[in-house]
């Protein structure tokens, strides 16, 4: 039975994908769109709607990308073939294409992983990922410029602020994730809850996927949250670093900017900002 894990960047999605993959009957493909197909890197934050799904080409933008379409066809077969395994994909860069994704790659279950936006913003900024990896500013500028809402277009003057840019990317993506979660009856998991009550929340995720928590997952949970180690995309982070590191790294003016941008979506997810 296929599933999809969706998250914003820097929300612990590698940790969750690894946690799921440790189960002997589960495999999770890491970012099969944005880490394996050039077009999804180039068109990140470009909106693809459900109505853009094309049965022949997946999307008209892929009309001349024969090999990309072949890859997607094989991916769909891999994902949806009934085979006794729980197979899933994990994506963090496809938020503006969720409804297209739901048509082109329908899965039975969706797990939406979320994290306190202040922690997300801090995690992006401390490694300057907004520039080096994800080019948030230019992508957000393009996204806002073509937006229908004049109020949103009027926000363009904030693009000089790194904090605002990262918070705004989180906000526009989280709005889409929350709306998608409601339409698809998805399971929303807060990273903070997962590290506070790892076994209970993992058991809930596995139950949602139609399986039971495995002993190797429990052991991994015991180890993975006791010590931070590894590189930028490590799955090993101390619980306190996940929950509280941002409090020591963000200034009060930064927090004020973030709160102004994200308060609605954060509130819907139970974060008091």
């Amino acid at each position: 039975m296929a599933f999809t894990v969706l998250a914003t960047q820097r929300s612990g999605s590698n940790f969750v994908a690894e946690l799921l993959r440790i189960h002997p009957s589960v495999d999770v493909l890491n970012e099969p769109f944005s880490q394996h197909l050039q077009i999804f890197r180039e068109l990140e934050m470009e909106v693809w709607r459900a109505s853009d799904y094309d049965r022949c080409y997946f999307h008209r933008a892929l009309r001349n990308a024969l090999e990309t379409r072949q890859f997607l066809g094989e991916l769909r077969e891999w994902l949806t073939r009934e085979n006794g395994y729980l197979l899933g994909i994990k994506e963090t860069g496809l938020t503006e294409k969720l409804d297209w994704l739901g048509c082109a790659f329908p899965t039975k279950n969706y797990i939406i992983l979320v994290r306190d936006p202040r922690a997300v913003v801090y995690s992006v900024l401390r490694r300057s990922l907004q520039n080096s990896w994800w080019q948030y500013r230019s992508r957000l500028k393009r996204y806002l410029e073509v937006h229908d809402d004049e109020n949103i277009r009027n926000e363009l003057h904030n693009l000089d602020s790194d904090v605002w840019v990262v918070a705004k990317v989180w906000q526009v993506r989280m709005r889409r994730l929350i709306d998608f979660a409601h339409r698809r009856n998805a399971l929303i998991v807060r990273l903070e809850d997962l590290v506070e009550s790892p076994v209970d929340i993992t058991a809930r995720m596995m139950e949602y996927l139609g399986a039971s928590i495995h002993s190797s997952q429990e052991r991994f949970l015991g180890e993975s949250t006791t010590q931070s180690r590894g590189g930028t995309f490590s799955t090993m982070r101390r619980k306190d670093d996940v929950v509280s590191l941002w409090k020591r790294g963000l200034s009060q003016p930064d927090i004020t900017i973030i709160a102004a941008v994200v308060s609605r979506e954060a509130g819907e997810l139970g974060y008091e900002i």
Binding site: I22, L29, R41, E67, T68, W78, R81, N83, W133, G231
Partner: protein, 249 residues
């Protein structure tokens, strides 16, 4: 160039002692007879794979994706510099195991040098050095960062051959990179003399041995792991085998 690469690889080969070995997979005891088997002592390195890409003329990138090695992931160290025709790898990563290789990429490399990928029964036989009671390549001691590169203790691949070998002199069988095997996940017990066909079941090829970013549970000689063969991942590499006339009883 093909023969030079084959020579380099041949020089680091280990010959597996001929004989009858027991291998246990998913609780099934299988007997495997080695007539002639050689194995490269380490996983294939970035340096070797660059040589292969440049010598073979294989086209990797087309139509917005890749076929042999994942060069869409910007973390991948193997690159063509703008305007250049040949792949390069930074000097400091030449001796690291190649990662991001698809199953097809691994197969093509192995065939290029005259070898093959192992079936998982062969991989496991080699990892255990012929003793099915050996839990890890180094023995039955609990994994630790001194014995293998796993669990983000290092946070990246390490040069091949840094950790203790198994009794047959093979390095990095546990940790650093997982290694592609030739068989589909539900075909481990099949007759070794038959050609493998794509199964009706899951589209999953076996990988073995755990990796630098993976939990210690994947280090065990018996732990089965699997991947969609179409993609190259940051902790999946491979090792070349030469196998002649072996049979499973």
């Amino acid at each position: 160039m093909r023969s030079e690469l084959a020579d380099i690889i041949n020089r680091s080969c280990v010959t597996i002692p001929p004989g009858e070995y027991c291998v246990e997979i998913e609780g099934k005891s299988l007997v495997y007879v080695v007539n002639a088997m050689r194995v490269v002592a380490t996983p294939v390195t970035n340096g070797m794979f660059v040589e292969f890409l440049n010598a073979s003329g294989e086209v990797n990138e087309f139509g917005g994706t890749y076929s042999l090695i994942n060069t869409v992931n910007i973390n991948q160290p193997l690159r063509k510099r703008p305007g250049e025709a040949l792949f390069t790898v930074p000097d400091e990563l030449v001796d690291h195991p190649v990662v991001g290789v698809t199953w097809e990429g691994a197969m093509k490399f192995a065939r290029f040098v005259g070898g093959c990928l192992p079936r998982e029964i062969e991989w496991q036989l080699v990892a255990t050095a012929g003793d099915p009671g050996r839990e890890f390549p180094w023995g039955n001691r609990k994994p630790s960062p001194a014995l293998a590169n796993y669990g983000e203790h290092v946070g990246a691949t390490t040069p091949v051959g840094m950790y203790p070998p198994n009794p047959w002199g093979l390095f990095d069988l546990a940790g650093n990179v997982r290694e592609w095997c030739s068989n589909w996940v539900n075909e481990y017990h099949h007759d070794l003399t038959t050609e493998e066909v794509q199964p009706e079941g899951p589209l999953l090829k076996v990988v073995r041995g755990g990796g630098w970013n993976l939990d210690q549970c994947f280090l065990s000689n018996t732990r089965r792991d699997y991947r969609w063969p179409r993609v190259g991942s940051v902790s999946v590499g491979f090792r070349v085998f030469w196998i002649d006339g072996n049979v499973k009883k």
